[in-house]
Subunit: 299 residues, 2 copies
Amino acid sequence: MVSAPGEEHYYLGIDGGGTKCKACIATADGRVLGTALAGPANPLHGFEQTLDSIECAARRALKDAQLPPETLQHLIAGVGLAGVNVPDLYRSISEWRHPFDHLYLATDLGIANMGAHHSEDGAVIVVGTGSSGYARVNGVERLLGGHGFPYGDQGSGAWMGLEAIKAVLLASDQLGPPTNLTEGVARLLGAKGIAIVEVMSGRPSSEYAKLAPLVFSAAEEGDDVAQKIVEEGASYISSMAYKLLDCQPGRLSLIGGLAARIEGWLAPGILKDLSIPLGPPEEGAILFARQRHLKANIA
Amino acid sequence: MVSAPGEEHYYLGIDGGGTKCKACIATADGRVLGTALAGPANPLHGFEQTLDSIECAARRALKDAQLPPETLQHLIAGVGLAGVNVPDLYRSISEWRHPFDHLYLATDLGIANMGAHHSEDGAVIVVGTGSSGYARVNGVERLLGGHGFPYGDQGSGAWMGLEAIKAVLLASDQLGPPTNLTEGVARLLGAKGIAIVEVMSGRPSSEYAKLAPLVFSAAEEGDDVAQKIVEEGASYISSMAYKLLDCQPGRLSLIGGLAARIEGWLAPGILKDLSIPLGPPEEGAILFARQRHLKANIA
């Protein structure tokens, strides 16, 4: 495909997540022109909303890049989404009649990995609303965790929020030890005991994840119950790190909204093996889109 | 209120739960004429379905009692529902334009307690799709647990199913010990690893509860992971029993679909303190309705 005169190709990188969708626009040679945020984009927890958030984030990023709205239909998009390792979801998103010129779909982990290492090879652990691990070594992928709320994603924000609520409810019945989380949760949710159930019933994982900073703070202040939660979560993330390092990925990065917060709780041996990410996931999405698009146009 | 000639009053007892709704029809003097089942009736997990299930169960019970359908509007209903200890839900159900002559609303625990002891005083632990405890002593009520899926109801069927899935997913990543539950879950759900997520995502607690018998079987056959799940659940139920016995309720009964299965796993001291329930919850709902209706017509 050759650009018509005056119709320049821009790249769109999308990093979808349970709490927000990040977008960035770059030129064909990788210069970032604009970035933007939109609402949640985890197709497992809201399919239509995910598509809306992607389009909304793209439009906002175009505006931020001072490009006209009609540029949308010329964008070569790289989209990384949680959950598209589930075959049915991959198919559904692929069938989306998207407003872009092209859309290349990858897992959120795949693009995070490319962003962190500026290479397809490497490993990442993402700790944000959810948690998951990914390694790619010589073309072989390994996925860990990322099974989702409420049955997986130990160590993630949503998991910590759920564990905090479980602990507060147990304490409210005096069937579990008292904890400072009771007061913190009451302040944040405006609810105690059974009223917590009213507030949280049916809420998405991103609402649970909002409690995670509270759990870290209580743990750092020495609350036993909060410490046990953070330690259990961190121990899972450490095990995941060891498993990924076994694949000899070259580089392993810890990323996501809770990465900085959980780092200090990991097994001491892990820290020295972590590499600072070279770029964010949305940059990885652009690299991915460029790579795929060049390959498609050579083939 | 005095019955018009030829217009006899019948009582309807409803025991709503996360998996099914039980109904029974009785005469004014308590003779049971018919019983029936309908779909789930937990208003926390489906408000409209709960109302539908109640009406459907009532119509079926009338049929079973060989009473004409139009008797529905003359029924004095006692309805016990999970979740109506949450004030907003109590209000919403109370505002229902129900098809009965009268509707008296109680918690599922209140009617279970009346059924088990043929008295307002006593205590019950319900272990089915969910788990909860209740004591009433000299007019003072004590509620334990029943906070719901996925943050509470330890020891319940839904909790066991969720713990089983967590364990199977951890094992699939080799981040948790291997377990026979993997095979059992695969057989029941037709899914392994990430495919389990596709099957279970967004499913109600009753679907998780369907895995509980599998967990008990694996535990009974010596599977370590399953044993830990059942032991943790049973330990919670034992703690609940001790707390309820502290209230000196006279009688304490263990009821619900998993009562017989979990009994043997409780702390050895508990069993001798358990009393066999005198009647099922739906019978308690009839006692409750009769009591309330007499009181309302005397007042």
